[in-house]
């Protein structure tokens, strides 16, 4: 029996504002000092009036434009009513029937080798406020839960995809591309550990049987907090639904929509106690907040301010620097600062392929080992470019450049690393290539004179004999380029 997997993702992303969405409290992540970022508005005290944060609205518009959404000319705020201890007002301010944007898409790459891409539809993106945080003492005994309202009222953008995703891997790819886009746009830090990016997945199967497509009941998997868990949870859920179909034959409509959580330790999705009547939110327009009409001029201004998107940047870098799809993917997917670093280094040294090799190998390795971001990396792009420029200029060999690179890193904390430090290291370690071929030729002549046997062997047809001569010359002339030495020796022997 064969089936198609149908997945849609709901992503909540925290917008990068200073203050909350409807009040002036700080929106900073602060789990260690509970309840110090609240005021009458976000505590839901009677008489307090919310006012929309302009920056939150514009960041949301920017994101929607980048997701190719239609921007509504008129949008309003609605109250979504439910009781939960982390929701002090008894309702969440959200958007119901007039979201500020809808009908967009995000392109994802399905196959790095063929470059095959797919457009994943976006149903809508809307703004809402986040809730606070409940903390349960799992150790037992305690009868109360703690509530911290620091997070209550921080701005959230909810992005709802069409059920266009066809596998767990595709869902992960979509989420990764979305995260990359959001960080490129600087609208969110998308820190999944801190909950700035959260994901729910709606999953079901279309079973192909007797020429028909039979949909299984849709399940929503809540609170997936890492890319890995998104992929794992969906994989487990696909398997569970297929087994359930075989065992019960239940199809869409036979049971109410189910909400499940993911138990990463056991690798299974677990049914959550049904929130009875969960969908009865009784939305109505919030009378405290004025509706918004979005002027075309604002949309055009925001559109013209948008940065280059990751997908476009990959294409441009591949063409400009003649890099493979794989290389540009590694560079661009590391984030905007990494790609900026690459471009600065490539431009300064003029060799994109060389810069790419160093970034994707040496620098990535050092960043991982030292647990640094590219912004914290002590060798700046122009210094790296200076170092790389010395290789084609025949000042140092590629191998010596790596030695200098590691030495620069090991310098540690003594102020910013400058290009003059490279000169010092080259001098101290005697790495300078003997560029003066006159001096090199003198050394070669001397070595040839001292080794009549090797010379005779070579002339007698033993090519390998040249190795001993190269070794001696290299010892005498530190920093010489072995390839150059080899060529010069062979020339001398053939002419002599």
């Amino acid at each position: 029996m064969d089936y198609t997997v149908v997945i849609g993702l709901e992503v909540h992303v925290q917008l990068q504002t200073q203050s909350k969405i409807f009040c002036g409290c700080s929106a900073a992540y602060n789990p260690t000092q509970p309840n110090v970022q609240t005021c009458p508005v976000c505590l839901g005290l009677p008489g307090a009036l919310p006012v929309m944060n302009r920056q939150a609205f514009e960041l949301a518009l920017k994101t929607a434009l980048a997701l190719n959404c239609e921007i509504a000319s008129y949008t309003k705020w609605d109250r979504k009513q439910y009781y939960y201890p982390d929701l002090p007002k008894g309702y969440q301010i959200s958007q119901y029937d007039c979201p500020f944007s809808k009908d967009g898409w995000l392109e994802i790459e399905m196959n790095a080798e063929t470059g095959e891409t797919r457009r994943i539809g976006i149903i809508r993106a809307h703004l809402e406020e986040d809730a606070g945080k409940n903390m349960h003492d799992e150790s037992g005994g305690k009868t109360d839960s703690q509530v911290d309202l620091n997070r209550a009222g921080t701005p959230l953008l909810e992005i709802v995809s069409q059920p266009d995703l066809r596998s767990a891997a595709e869902a992960r790819r979509y989420l990764e591309e979305l995260r990359l886009l959001l960080t490129y746009l600087n609208v969110s830090d998308c820190n999944m550990q801190e909950g700035s990016l959260r994901c729910d997945a709606n999953v079901n199967l279309h079973i192909h049987q007797d020429g028909k497509n039979i949909p299984t009941p849709i399940v929503e998997i809540k609170n997936l907090n890492s890319f890995r868990n998104v992929e794992l949870a969906i994989t487990c859920e696909i398997e569970r639904q297929f087994e359930d179909w075989k065992a019960t034959g239940r199809r869409l409509g036979d049971v109410p929509k189910e909400t499940r959580g993911f138990d990463a330790q056991r690798g299974v999705t677990v049914g959550q106690r049904g929130k009875e009547e969960a969908s009865d939110y009784r939305y109505f327009p919030d009378p405290d907040l004025a509706p918004v009409t979005v002027a075309d001029e604002l949309i055009e201004q925001l559109r013209s301010d948008l940065c280059e998107f990751p997908a476009d940047r990959r294409k441009r870098l591949a063409v400009t620097w003649q890099l493979s799809d794989y290389d540009v993917r590694v560079i661009v997917d590391q984030g905007r600062e990494f790609a900026d670093y690459f471009e600065a280094a490539a431009q300064a040294c003029g060799d994109g392929k060389q810069a790419c090799n160093w970034l994707t190998q040496d620098i990535l390795r050092e960043l991982n080992e030292r647990r640094l971001t590219i912004a914290q990396f002590p060798i700046r792009a122009e210094v790296l470019a200076n170092l790389l420029g010395r290789i084609p200029a025949r000042q140092i060999t590629n191998k010596s450049a790596r030695e200098v690179f590691l030495e620069l890193l090991n310098d540690g904390g003594a102020g910013p690393i400058t290009s003059s430090r490279i000169d010092e290291i080259i001098a101290a370690r005697g790495l300078a290539l003997v560029a003066d071929t006159g001096a090199l030729e003198q050394v070669i002549t001397a070595v040839i004179d001292k080794n009549p046997k090797a010379v005779a062997d070579f002339r007698g047809g033993k090519q390998a004999a040249v190795g001993a001569l190269i070794g001696q010359v290299m010892r005498e002339a530190k920093g010489a380029d072995a390839q150059v030495v080899r060529e010069l020796i062979i020339k001398a022997l053939q002419s002599g």
Partner: protein, 99 residues
């Protein structure tokens, strides 16, 4: 004949509002809520053909504040009205269903 809600409808609304009602209260509210709905019936008689739906009472649009942090309440004041706290957090009866 005034509208009368069914006991099940009253129970449903009560559950959404987290209210526990006695059978006598359910009966009371069934007729009281029914009378409220009747008032809306009166509104429904108004001819609203060609009238745009209105979601806000006054003709105001685009009220924004700049993204500037203002001082928050000291924690003690934020917790002041809570029935139960531990000095740091609001305390509520243990939540069972997660989320």
């Amino acid at each position: 004949m005034p509208t009368q809600l069914t006991p099940a409808e009253v129970q449903h609304v009560a559950m959404l509002a987290r209210l526990k009602l006695t059978p006598a209260e359910v009966a009371d509210f069934a007729s009281q809520l029914g009378r409220m709905l009747d008032y809306f019936q009166v509104l429904n008689e108004v001819d609203t053909e060609d009238v745009e739906p209105m979601s806000y009472a006054v003709e105001v649009r685009n009220v924004f504040r700049e993204d500037v942090v203002q001082p928050s309440l000291p924690r003690a004041e934020a917790l002041m009205n809570a029935p139960k706290t531990d000095g740091q957090c609001f305390l509520v009866p243990q939540i069972l269903d997660g989320g």
